[in-house]
Amino acid sequence: MRVREPSMSEVVHMALGQAHRGFRGRITAISAAAETSGVPADELERRLLELGFTEGAQVEILHEGLFGRDPIAVRVNDATVAIRRREAMAILVS
């Protein structure tokens, strides 16, 4: 299983899964750990990439669900994607 670790030069502030509504930023790394989700880390990473969560993409949290502020609706460049906070923990942003 290949998990891409953010290099030292990248400034990693937080995971998107911890951000509040209205957060704006850029993706610095997609880094799925084995326990992040119900699917293997490599599979989660590829699914996130296929939905446009790639390094450098602009993200903004537009909406949150009622219970536990979950799931979140995220603007990724020009598209909007619904995702649970659990999986959004694999998206590192600054």
Binding site: R2, R4, I30, E35, S37, G38, V39, D42, L44, E45, R46, R47, L48, L49, E50, L51, G52, T54, E55, G56, L62, H63, E64, G65, L66, F67, G68, R69, D70, P71, A73, N77, D78, A79, T80, V81, A82, I83, R84, R86, E87
Partner: protein, 627 residues
């Protein structure tokens, strides 16, 4: 074009990301010349249609399920992959791939194009919804885009009149080009690194060929501010569902009355035309009243599907899944299960088939298990008949009709038990395994195209009538046969049905059903009720009609009120909340899960719930002195 080349139709396939307007384009290109079938071995719908190019060439166009990648994760996406790669034994790979993209949202589509290039088939990129993109000021340099991608590019606006003319003209050129040799197929499931590289390349191409204005689509953002609001969004969702069910019952009423009147007239006509005897009984009691009692639900099913298709085309269904995800997650269901479960209110069969959008096998299985608990429209006749006969038509709490409250209670009982069963299934079967992800693109809102929606409704109507004409019709003939044979001996006293096979079966089941207050007539109706629930009403009609003379069939509600006690009626209602579902639903479960085991599990647990619910209801009602 020579006559010879016209004889051999070309095979083109539409492929694209979800929400690319692929199906609208398919409808615009093929019109009503569509055929819906299944792919071999799977229940994924295979939609194909014929079209004629301006040059006179026939093309067989196939609409493939939407996907972000050929790296398939759900049965739907596997079909797309296998078809494109020519892995189906029964059909060759297509001659041309038309990759459809939403012009306002090119990022993911262009990555898919780059992946499709590796398949080695002739490829064309169709920029759909170009009208919306232009209105928003998005400027796409087509030549540049085509040169960068190395793929021909054409624009289209599937929902506009004449919006596909350019594409049709281009198809002739491409039809000739497809005769050129294909490239070597070099597709392999992309790794994370390859996905990153491809997306970077796609982003570079977009930067080079597309100019986007600073202001994005503000309408969608403004609507979402309300519709995805944590509280207001849920309230609006509930309001939409409320309106939907009101419409299903009130709008359909006049049409249903007309259909009933029509079949009644037909029955009278057959009575006057046919000589008294077996043939008349067969046509009137077996065929006309049987089939009529099922076709009467067509208006309700159409209205429900009209709502579902409208909400889907509007782009609201994905929002509903977003709003419901956490609530359904508490019961161990996936947010995406909302759409299949909603469809199950019309009929569990399309509902179970719609679970194909759930990529996780576990979530899919849970949804399939509980979908038959949603009150499908086939249960409506059983409910309305018994409610009208036994529940007084009075107002409670100053505004609500008691009959309506009972109806709502029956629906609520179905939903609550579905949540309970799925929570239990999660606890019993999947306690250890972690929750799978929920990821869903929320498309921009779009006005649905009436023609496309109507075509969808038409397809459903055709499917329903086909079912009514085959399964349900043959069951009605069987019931009529059981209720009519053997004939009573000459000069026998009492109704003829007392001598029939149906009476014998009904009486044989009495020891078991006595505890839940069912008499032998109900037992007889339960048997065809397993073929299709709505047949139970018709079967009761047939049983009581043959028993008491033709005039009774018209007032079956009154007949029931005379023959049943209130606890019995309530027990029948409780039974039908869980009623072991119709044979077609079981067949679909078997096909979708690929196992007899899950079909047996569903049948078994529903039968047990139905018996227990009826047992409790009957005894409680009897103890309270309702008798």
């Amino acid at each position: 074009m020579s006559v010879a080349s016209q004889a051999e139709p070309l095979h083109f396939a539409l492929i694209g990301t979800p929400n690319s307007g692929k199906t609208a384009l398919f409808n615009a290109l093929t019109g009503s010349r569509q055929k819906v079938a299944n792919y071999p071995g799977v229940t994924v719908e295979r939609k194909s249609g014929m079209l004629q190019t301006p040059g006179g060439r026939s093309v067989n166009l196939i609409d493939l399920p939407g996907t972000y990648s050929l790296r398939a994760r759900s049965p739907d996406e596997e079909v797309t992959r296998d078809f494109v790669l020519g892995r189906f034994k029964s059909e060759a790979a297509p001659d041309l791939l038309l990759c459809v993209a939403d012009s306002t949202n090119l990022r993911l589509a262009l990555r898919l194009v780059l992946e499709l290039k590796r398949v080695g088939l002739p490829l064309l990129l169709v920029l759909n919804m170009i009208d919306i993109a232009r209105r928003r000021g998005i400027d796409i340099d087509l030549d540049k885009l085509s040169a960068e991608l190395g793929v021909p590019v054409i624009t289209a606006a599937a929902v506009r009149r004449g919006g596909t003319d350019d594409l049709m003209r281009r198809l002739d050129e491409l039809a000739l080009a497809t005769e050129a040799a294909r490239a070597e197929a070099a597709w392999q499931a992309p790794t994370a690194g390859e996905l990153r590289a491809a997306q970077r390349e796609a982003d570079r191409i977009i930067a080079a060929s597309v100019r986007t204005p600073a202001a994005p689509d503000t309408l969608t953002a403004r609507l979402d501010a309300v519709l995805l609001h944590p509280v207001a969004g849920l309230v609006i969702l509930l309001a939409i569902l409320f309106v939907m069910f009101q419409a299903v019952f009130t709008w359909a009423k006049p049409l249903m009355d007309q259909i009933t009147a029509g079949f009644d007239a037909l029955g009278v006509l057959s009575q006057s035309w046919l000589p008294e005897g077996l043939l008349q009984s067969f046509v009137q009691n077996g065929v006309i009243s049987g089939v009529g009692s099922v076709i009467v639900f067509l208006p309700q099913i159409l209205i429900l599907f009209l709502f579902i298709l409208l909400l889907e085309d509007l782009g609201y269904m994905a929002r509903a899944a977003f709003l419901m995800d956490r609530i359904m997650g508490g019961a161990g269901l996936h947010g995406r299960a909302f759409i299949p479960l909603l469809s199950s209110f019309a009929c569990a069969i399309p509902g179970i088939m719609a679970t194909r959008v759930i990529d996780n096998p576990r979530d899919r299985l849970t949804t399939i298990l509980v979908a038959p608990l949603m009150t499908c429209s086939a249960r409506i006749p059983v409910y309305t008949l018994i409610i009208a006969a036994f529940i007084p038509d009075k107002t409670v709490w100053g505004f609500a009709s008691l009959q309506g409250v009972v109806m709502f209670g029956l629906y609520a009982a179905g939903i609550v038990s579905a949540l309970g069963v799925s929570a239990l299934a999660k606890f019993m079967f999947w306690r250890e395994s972690p929750t799978p992800p929920f990821m869903l693109e929320l498309p921009d809102y779009k006005l649905p195209r009436p023609r496309s929606v109507l075509m969808g409704v038409y397809t459903r109507a055709k499917m329903f009538l086909h079912r009514a004409g085959t399964t349900i019709f043959s069951m009605m003939v069987l019931i009529w046969f059981l209720a009519s044979f053997p004939r009573p001996p000459e000069g026998a006293a009492g109704p003829a049905i007392d001598y029939s096979l149906a009476s014998w079966i009904g009486h044989a089941m009495e020891p078991v059903t006595k505890a839940i207050g069912f008499n032998w007539q109900i037992n007889v109706a339960l048997i065809p009720g397993m073929a299709a629930r709505e047949v139970a009403v018709a079967a009761l009609g047939t049983v009581y009609a043959i028993e008491g003379g033709k005039e009774n069939a018209a007032q079956i509600g009154q007949t029931l009120a005379q023959h049943w006690s209130l606890p019995t009626a309530l027990a029948v209602l409780a039974w039908y909340i869980f009623a072991p579902q119709c044979a077609s639903t079981l067949a679909v479960i078997k096909r979708e899960t690929g196992s007899w085991k899950w079909m047996a599990v569903t049948f078994g647990y529903m039968l047990a719930l139905a018996y227990i619910a009826a047992l409790i209801t009957y005894n409680v009602a009897a103890a309270l002195g309702a008798a």
